[in-house]
Symmetry: C2
Subunit: 199 residues, 2 copies
């Protein structure tokens, strides 16, 4: 295959590693960057660097944060006795979009996925258990994905948490089976939250 100049080929190679970006999209992006103002490109570079430098996980719930505590954990107006357990930081954003939920979160940073070699030890479960043991939490809503990994994780957590004497619920109705939480529309997610049932 005939090639572009060396720098362009190197950038294409890097861009193709991004999720959802093929060679054609990468070429369009490079084209855009080449014709864009220098300041525009500098701003993009700075934005990438800043995210990597400033964004970390909340010390309590693992949500994305630029301080020790995330905006949710920092908000004393939220219900402190209710914790919604999700797989990824982006799932927090999805639940927040419904505007319905006013409790706290706990981000597991993944799900149990035996086929991919991810077990409970790879998830942030210890932190969740400590939170339950010492903070007057009354209910845990398990909002992991509705696919196999998410369900496995929900089951595993239920068995672990129920003996601790808190109510454990699972979001249910509304989420199409086999789908992933991040793709649910707000209305569906709202239904799922409203129709949560004890498990």
């Amino acid at each position: 295959m005939t090639k572009y100049t060396e720098s362009v080929e190197k950038l294409l190679e890097r861009l193709i590693r991004l999720p959802g970006i093929g060679r054609r999209s990468a070429e369009r992006m490079v084209n855009y960057l080449l014709s864009a103002e220098k300041s525009e490109v500098r701003d993009l570079i700075e934005a990438i660097a800043k995210v990597k430098d400033n964004v970390r996980l909340c010390a309590v719930c693992n949500n994305l944060s630029e301080q020790e505590l995330c905006a949710v954990c920092h908000d004393s107006g939220r219900r402190q006795d209710l914790v919604c357990v999700v797989q990824q930081p982006k799932d927090v954003t999805a639940v927040e979009k419904t505007g319905y939920y006013k409790g706290l979160y706990h981000v597991l940073m993944g799900a149990i996925a035996p086929l991919e070699g991810r077990g409970p030890a790879d998830l942030k479960i210890d932190g969740l258990l400590s939170r339950i043991k010492g903070n007057g939490i009354k209910e845990i809503i398990i909002a992991t994905d509705a696919d196999t990994d998410g369900e496995t994780t929900a089951l595993y957590l239920t068995k672990l948490i129920r003996p601790l004497g808190v109510r454990v619920s699972r979001i249910g109705l509304g989420l199409p089976v086999g789908s992933q939480l991040e793709y649910a529309d707000s209305a569906t997610l709202l239904k799922a939250l409203e129709s949560r049932r004890d498990i």
Copy 2:
């Protein structure tokens, strides 16, 4: 809409400006960058900066280059009397992929697009005319796109170049190789009929 942290929102805003990137793709990219190794992200940043710093347009033909002259113009083994006129640097790569063409190029950096307010003055046409006047060029192949803007540009260039006494040709328009007649649109079929050749 509920938001991510400030740095993340800023990066999302920047990424969405890239061609073909919507909010969902941008979120996936940010997620990837957050979980990627620091070195991986640094390499991406460097690759973007290098392209912007090193890549310029060839002083003769406007093809992408990292030196004064691009690789094609620098290659004395190519036919110096044949120039293929294209709209974008990526079109050079497309023609080179055929392995058939051994002449030079001239990149217009766009096409005449009255509806978008782009006229002949916005294209690199002066440089093309100077090349034709002084360099023993025998034929100009106009390989602009087969859409309205590309056709308009081809027509405009033909009128300009023919008086200079060089042969002007247009790449063949017709049925794509491997396609079926029943699926061809009428405009393509008309072109195919018009450009029929004795066999």
